[in-house]
Symmetry: C2
């Protein structure tokens, strides 16, 4: 069985590593020469809209999936005409447009921030009559890791904020006064069978995820499961999904979802019985989903733009290293490290140590 992946970065790399034990082969379409997953399968080297390469991918792959949500919907639709594509293109269509995404969530009675569609300065000015400051202006499409976003603190920043969007179709969102950011990762089979991971509690800096911790038995778990299953069923979704949420006094407000494996679930490789990567593959292959229960305490720290020597990471007990085989470059996620511990205090100590280590070599 051959799985095609659009995108050959670290997510595709970890999908492939989880897939070999299931007897899978991979074919990866990626425009770069040396993305992290190259070497773990056949590499189709070119752009995502290259018709010849897409035809070849559709021909060779039994199932196609993707590691990022900005795959052009037309590409996914073209592939779906010729082979099986999971998650189906409709999930992409919703996820890659923040305005549609918010509307979709609200239709499912999943709360979101107050928001408005913005296509001009006048629309922005009008919208901000009804939304409190601070607010965030975001391009509707192609944003990730905090790119294409600007915070608006007061009325006199409106013009400048709009100008920075360069006329991109945008959305303005009221700021959510959250206590914490969480995400829930779930996997769904074609039959509708769903498994949920324990929620992740996430820390971002400069718009980039720094730390994700598995929170077993959190009071918010069932609320998060309720929301993500509405989303999964409405999309008739197949594969792993990640729904990011704000926790405001015990009430969850949806931020966005990613129709793919997610950085906030990387702890599941060691911290859960079955990793998110394996469960993504099991789901799209329509195999029984694996147990998602947590193994003790676990958390993940991203290394951005820089890295200490492996010795300095691995000399702490129960720490697991995941290098992405990328050149070190400013702002780039180059590795993550997981700590998995049975003892709660040791867990927190080790996590703090890893966070300090990541700060020392940070180049974000």
């Amino acid at each position: 069985m051959k799985i095609g992946i659009l995108g050959g970065g670290q997510l595709a790399r970890m999908i492939a590593l989880a897939g070999y034990p299931l007897g899978l082969d991979f074919i990866i379409l990626d425009p770069s020469e040396d993305a992290g997953a190259i070497g773990l399968g056949e590499h189709l080297h070119g752009q995502y809209d290259d018709q010849n390469l897409l035809a070849e991918l559709a021909e060779k792959a039994d199932i196609v999936t993707y590691e990022f949500e900005n795959v052009p919907v037309k590409v996914a639709e073209f592939l779906a005409e010729h082979t099986t594509v999971f998650p189906a293109p409709n999930a992409l269509a919703v996820a890659q447009d923040r305005l549609h995404e918010k509307g979709f969530l609200q239709q499912l009675n999943i709360p979101t921030a107050t928001y408005a569609s913005i296509e001009s300065l006048t629309e922005l000015e009008n919208a901000m009559e009804h939304i409190e400051y601070p607010a965030i202006l975001k391009s509707r499409r192609m944003g990730y890791d905090g790119k294409g976003q600007v915070v608006i603190k007061s009325k006199n920043q409106l013009a400048e904020a709009w100008e920075s969007m360069q006329n991109a179709e945008s959305i303005v969102e009221g700021f959510v006064p959250f206590q914490r950011e969480i995400s829930i990762i779930a996997a769904r089979r074609p039959s509708g069978e769903v498994v949920f991971y324990p929620i992740s509690e996430n820390t971002h800096e400069k718009g980039i995820l720094r730390v994700s911790e598995c929170r077993v038995g959190d009071v918010i778990q069932s609320q998060a499961e309720d929301y993500v299953v509405r989303l999964l069923d409405a999309l008739d979704y197949v594969g792993v999904i990640a729904l990011e949420l704000f926790d405001v006094d015990g009430k969850l407000i949806a931020n966005e979802f990613a129709p793919r494996v997610h950085n906030s679930g990387h702890w599941s490789i060691e911290g859960s019985e079955t990793s998110q990567f394996e469960n993504h593959l099991r789901a799209i292959l329509d195999l029984p989903l694996g147990a998602t229960k947590a193994r003790g305490f676990s958390g993940m720290v991203n290394f951005i733009g820089g890295l200490p020597a492996s010795d300095n990471i691995l000399d702490t007990e129960n720490v697991h290293l995941h290098l992405y085989a990328k050149e070190l470059r400013k702002g780039r996620k180059v590795a993550h490290v997981t700590v998995r511990e049975d003892d709660r205090d040791t867990y927190f100590q080790t996590l703090e140590y890893l966070i300090d280590l990541a700060k020392l070599t940070d180049n974000s």
Copy 2:
């Protein structure tokens, strides 16, 4: 960092899968077109004594290791002149000759079965004056999975037994009346730092390993550690080693050792904090060794010559599948399955279920 592996079967496959997260690349020398590890690194396609390929391997690999102990010693020595080879060729030289191996173990005061060198029927007849029946006649070299062995139950089988060896240099060993077969897997760094896994309790049939179970806190653990560390230190060994032992009324008798990762340690992928494959790589890279403590109860079942559909394996909770991407062929190990459980009773139930599943499709 590029690791060369002699042999591209399932052991090389699992080494490579453990190595990508450590940022490693692989180059694999194997005579077959479609061994399980091909696809996980550059493939040098040819015989193990092909001088040009060996030169290329030595040139490209920073460190060379192997997945089987029958690598010609001269090949390992040639490579060691041009690059780093771990484990060093001396371990191969001892391990691949049963007579040297037994002598080496005895020098270290590690008990073995009674044995004698056999190069003629007369020598066999003389030896059996001092060794009790039943005994086992084995070729000194190139035996694995019970091949090149014959059981001798009485004096009148001696001539036939010797004839079956076709004049191969042989060894006759007295039968050890064991209660159980165990193995201990350990990893050693160049500095001499050693970690031990909990012992494995092993079940063989027709000379092939069927089941290995992790036995945490076994009374025999310290005796096994004592023996394997003598062996490691005497060989100044670097990498993972497996020492197979018989348990006779609580006293261990060494059978043989394998200078490599070992089938009886496959449970460590899920059942231990750090797998034997990762610790082999950490050892040869001189990185800190990973924790080897067990995660609950775990055991492994080999699938030989045949396989049920993946659905039938994965629909049992906490079961993990490892396909080797091999054509199904009589007597060939084609997959293993691990169960990892927190609950002891459920563990034994699931293990029995998996053993039954393996029997249903067995073609050994």
